[in-house]
């Protein structure tokens, strides 16, 4: 029988994959993909817990996470466009004028 833990472990693994993406990626666009993975990992955990507790709150949370993800994409892409216009690149290694 698939229990809550199965889903949670899956969620954890996906989260770890997302984290790997975030720390590994240098291209900002692809980095954003990785953050989406992390949010989705949490969504699975919410949906699973919601299912096993027979409680709708988890689905609510997942719903709002999706909304947030969408908004973030909008703002994030807006920022990337500005950035791309000025710098002509999305590589974050080129984005280190402020340090120290």
């Amino acid at each position: 029988m698939i229990g809550l833990s199965h889903y949670l472990i899956l969620s954890g693994l996906l989260f770890a994959i997302g984290l790997v993406g975030v720390i590994r990626r240098r291209n900002l666009l692809m980095l954003f993909f990785a953050t989406e993975i992390m949010l989705n990992a949490a969504n699975i955990a919410f949906a699973a817990a919601s299912y096993y507790y027979n409680d709708l709150t988890g689905q609510m949370f997942a719903f709002f996470i999706i909304a947030v993800a969408a908004s973030e994409v909008a703002v994030g892409l807006g920022l990337l466009i500005v950035l791309y216009k000025k710098f002509g690149t999305l590589d974050l290694d080129d984005l280190a004028s402020m340090k120290g």
Binding site: F15, L39, A42, N43, F46, F61, L79, F87
Partner: protein, 496 residues
Amino acid sequence: MLEPISVSLASLNLVTLAPMLIAISGGLIILIIDLFKDGLHKSLYVMMTILVLFVDFGSVMGLNVNERGFFDVMLIDGVAIISQLLILAASILFIPLALTSKRFHEYSYPEFFALFLFMIAGFQFMVASDNLILIFVGIETASLALYTLIALHNRNNSYEAAVKYFTMGALAAGFFVMGSAIIYALTGSIELYQVADVLQDRINEPAVMGTILGGSIFLLAAFAFKLSLFPFHTWTPDVYEGASAPLAGYMSIVPKIAVFVVAMRIFGMYIDLGVEWVRILILILAVLTMTLSNMMALVQQDVKRMLAYSSISHAGFVMAALALDTTKGNTGIFLYYGLFMFTNLGAFAMLWISRHKNRIFHERYDHPYEKFAGLVKIMPMGAVVMGLFMLSLAGVPPFSIFWGKIYIMSAAVDAGYIWLAIVMGLNSAIAAFYYLKLIVYMFLYDPVQNDNTVYYNASRPLMTIIGIAVAATVGSVFFMQPLISYIFYMVSASGY
């Protein structure tokens, strides 16, 4: 089939929503005005924003303590009220800094002011709820607006700052939702009072201890990012440097107040439950933050960056108070930020006044120390005022932050954490060095010869704001009593 639900309007307690609604509608009105007429002067929007915030402030003042509204999603306790008041007060004080004599990009957008108000609404939602969903949505609303405001300064540094902030913020959001998911998986609830109840039962199951801690740590990481605690603080100096000075000053206060409220709600719960490791971790983070950021601030060449590190350090200081989880400690948080607000406002406003369009004194920095060399000879009052702010930041009595410092240190002592109080004291001493460095530059060095005046960007509204900041910084002792008693009352009424 579902039964139709009848909800009485009274039970919704809509008044709890009033403050946020005011802010939102203010933002909408600005958008609408812009729709009808282009090219209105920024002063109009500044004043409108102030008015909206003023009304908002009034409506918050009118709230009753310890009420819930809207299916218990809204929680108006004392902490929520105080934090909203502080947020609004800070906002009212910061927004006039838009009225510079020189033009800067962001203020040419009416949307700037709308976003500003939406951001405030986001913060207000955040603090006025113990529902993790609303907290999350509030945080994100505010953050998204804030990222945009930073980027609107429209120069290379500000994009870089916005992108850095945004990306790290996205990661932190990931941490937050993961932490919430764990909490939900453990308790079947995302409302903190419920969570606390359930955890109270489950805390004795040794098997889930790791899970409980794990959840708290994801949340801690998320909040540590927002509060800029080590090692999640790395965005702070860069973002402050990239953002305009008023916004940097604003960021060092308002988001932190909001996040502190949430952190207080969440970690206060954990500590109350007896999860001692949360307290220990917070203390470790706080001490590391104070010390390391102080050390980094020592070696900065730019005043704004130095102030960025200093605000990290102050956040660490306050975070330590949070770990105490006593009424006095929590009172200290608000008191500290209430006082820090004025001084930091003043300091950043002084930087803003001295901001040039292009960097004259240093190829990278807007505000290198050299810029302020011999200020006392160029503009004595300016130097004295800036000196006052620096002394206050350093915790020299009787200026405002000193009172916050002793209150928090006293709270630490009361809670039995004398070592913590000593660490705080020693850190203040380290910090004094870099504040002094600026004073030394201003008072003891000779001016670097330069044709441009330092006060390039000064205007009467800015001067007024600085005047207010000076008055509050110097005269703090006279309003300490009402401030402490009010905050203490509010915090203890909320049960923290």
